[in-house]
């Protein structure tokens, strides 16, 4: 879904950003520790190179947004962080990614994905009850008692700001709730296993503004315990939620900096052009 970019007032962006993060910025002078360290990453779909020499750091317990036009590689990079790209045949990765102090590729993929969760663009709840959707990840571990699962399900639904809306219909099909609720259900589902990182691939692009606002609010809440990486087409959204923003173009990382910096005073011309809507 290509968002048509109109010329955007940089002041408008920075004001949106200020409103949210002004007090945190003041104390956050020192850079937080890196959650992901990406060095020299190249990614290929067959013979097509989707990512070119990516070097970046995703800071711990902050919201990092990847922005850029369609096809720039931001989603590819996101899906490399939890190795979902490996499920597609014909892909090749070069370079290194570290998660904390571990080599990402040496961890078994299934273990990695318990720690690095993902929410997809289109809300896709399983054709099960709401409860079973959230409990799914927990049941995979085979070590939680029934009451523990029930507690964690409730806790996740609260974190996803969905508990009040579904607490009376936990045993109904997940397909019976609205799109925005389904997406929050998917977030709750991802949070249930208590991941350190949550990756979100344009989570609000299929939703209405009210649901979008709810999700942005809850991201703000959970980033205290969870590093968040969000891919978004929506510049205003990035301004609203992100601490750090990375701008991608044609498979390259053009600029990565604090959000305020990117929106108020970008260092590269391409970033400036994209933000002001010269190309979409």
């Amino acid at each position: 879904m290509k968002t048509v970019m109109k010329a955007i007032d940089l002041d408008q962006l920075s004001k949106a950003h200020e409103a949210r993060f002004s007090d945190i910025e003041r104390t956050d002078e020192q850079l937080p520790w890196p959650q992901f360290t990406v060095a020299g990453l190249n990614f290929y779909y067959g013979s097509h190179q989707a990512l070119k020499d990516i070097n970046l750091i995703v800071p711990n317990k902050r919201v990092t947004a990847f922005i850029g036009p369609s096809g720039c590689g931001k989603t590819t990079l996101l899906r490399t962080l939890n190795r979902m790209n490996e499920e597609v045949p014909g892909t090749r990765v070069e370079g290194s990614i570290r998660l904390g102090d571990r080599d990402l590729f040496s961890i078994p993929a299934t273990t990695l994905r318990r720690v690095v969760g993902m929410v997809f663009q289109k809300p896709s709840p399983f054709p099960k009850t709401i409860f079973e959707n959230v409990a799914f990840g927990l049941r995979l571990e085979h070590r939680f008692s029934r009451s523990e699962i029930a507690d964690r399900v409730e806790h996740s639904l609260r974190r996803a700001a969905l508990w009040d809306e579904v607490k009376d219909k936990l045993n109904q099909s997940a397909n019976g709730i609205s799109g925005g609720q389904q997406q929050r259900l998917c977030i709750a589902r991802a949070l249930a296993v208590d991941p350190d990182v949550l990756l979100l691939d344009e989570p609000c692009s299929a939703l209405d503004p009210v649901s979008t606002a709810k999700i942005e609010d809850l991201l703000f809440e959970i980033k205290n315990t969870c590093t968040i990486v969000i891919v978004t087409h929506n510049m205003l959204q990035a301004a609203r939620v992100a601490d750090y923003v990375g701008f991608f173009l044609n498979g390259e990382l053009i600029e990565l900096n604090r959000a305020k910096q990117i929106f108020q005073n970008p260092e590269r011309q391409q970033t400036q052009d994209y933000i002001t809507g010269r190309f979409g």
């Binding site: 939890n82 979902m84 499920e87 045949p89 299934t110 273990t111 990695l112 994905r113 318990r114 969760g117 993902m118 997809f120 289109k122 896709s124 709840p125 399983f126 054709p127 099960k128 799914f136 990840g137 049941r139 995979l140 099909s173 997940a174 397909n175 019976g176 998917c186 589902r189 991802a190 296993v193």
Partner: protein
């Protein structure tokens, strides 16, 4: 004047041909109803309790039944399902979830090939495979023949329903740390289960009416057939034998057996569609 009002001849042709197509449809549908009505009429007449619980009696004596055939058919279908369903399911999972390129093509092509084998040839195969080494006919041989015939449809139907499960559901499972096999068993198969069950039901219904393969494998039996190693009677074979016999009494029983067989098949077919519809409804909230 080319794009103008069609001429009278063209209109007559139009009307005639279109009416003919309607007649064709009427013809086909009436054939169906005639068959069903005839079966119903003649079959229902001969139905009585004896029919269901008694063994065949000598001609002229009356009071006989086809109990052994009913039990035989049930046993054969049970054995056939035991063979056909697991292989079909597992093969279907292979084609849908694992198979790449040429391997998948080979399996799919061979499955379609096996599906096209005439039932009488299947009977020959199982005869040479099971009956000859054992030196006698058996329920086992009959069950194997029907079981092999069940595999292709079970497999393709399972594959189709598994493929219909959206990729996003699989990705959702993988992203939560489930392995591929966990995703298959806890997400994909449950999502497709109604369709798979429907496919199996229709498959069983289809082989229930097969006669030719049984002629050389289970053969037939006037009496009960204990266990699995003896020849057994079955509804389709009984219908055949009684129908071509010269005895009116047996003709009646053939009709009754035909009625029972067809009613069973139609009931299962309709039930299968109901199950499928219910499954669709559930998965769409």
């Amino acid at each position: 004047m080319s794009a103008s009002y069609p001429s009278r001849t063209r209109k007559i042709v139009n009307y005639t041909m279109l009416s003919l197509t309607g007649l064709c449809t009427l013809l086909v549908v009436s054939v169906l109803f005639t068959i069903l009505a005839y079966l119903l009429w003649h079959g229902a007449h001969a139905l009585n309790l004896n029919f269901f619980i008694k063994l065949p009696a000598p001609v002229g004596q009356g009071g006989g039944g086809v109990a052994n055939a009913i039990i035989g058919t049930l046993k054969l279908l049970a054995l056939a399902s035991l063979i056909g369903v697991p292989i079909g399911l597992i093969g279907g999972i292979y084609l849908s979830e694992f198979a790449g390129g040429w391997s998948g093509f080979a399996v799919r092509y061979t499955t379609d090939l096996l599906n096209g084998v005439p039932s009488v040839v299947m009977g020959i195969f199982v005869y040479t495979l099971v009956v000859l080494p054992m030196h006698h006919f058996s329920t086992l041989a009959g069950g194997i023949a029907l079981g092999i015939m069940m595999i292709p449809i079970a497999l393709r139907s399972t594959e189709d329903f598994l493929r219909a499960v959206p990729r996003s559901l699989r990705e959702g499972g993988l992203a939560l740390g489930a392995s591929k096999s966990e995703t298959i068993f806890t997400i994909v198969i449950p999502a497709a289960i109604y369709g798979i069950i429907t496919g199996v039901m229709l498959d069983i219904a289809r082989v229930a009416g097969e006669t030719a393969p049984l002629l050389f494998t289970a053969f037939g039996n006037q009496f009960n057939s204990p266990g699995w190693m003896q020849p057994t009677s079955s509804l389709p074979v009984v219908i055949y034998n009684y129908a071509i016999s010269p005895y009116d009494e047996w003709h009646q029983q053939a009709w009754a057996a035909g009625f029972v067989l067809l009613s069973g098949l139609l009931a299962v077919s309709i039930l299968a569609r109901v199950v499928l519809a219910r499954g669709k409804k559930l998965s769409h909230g």
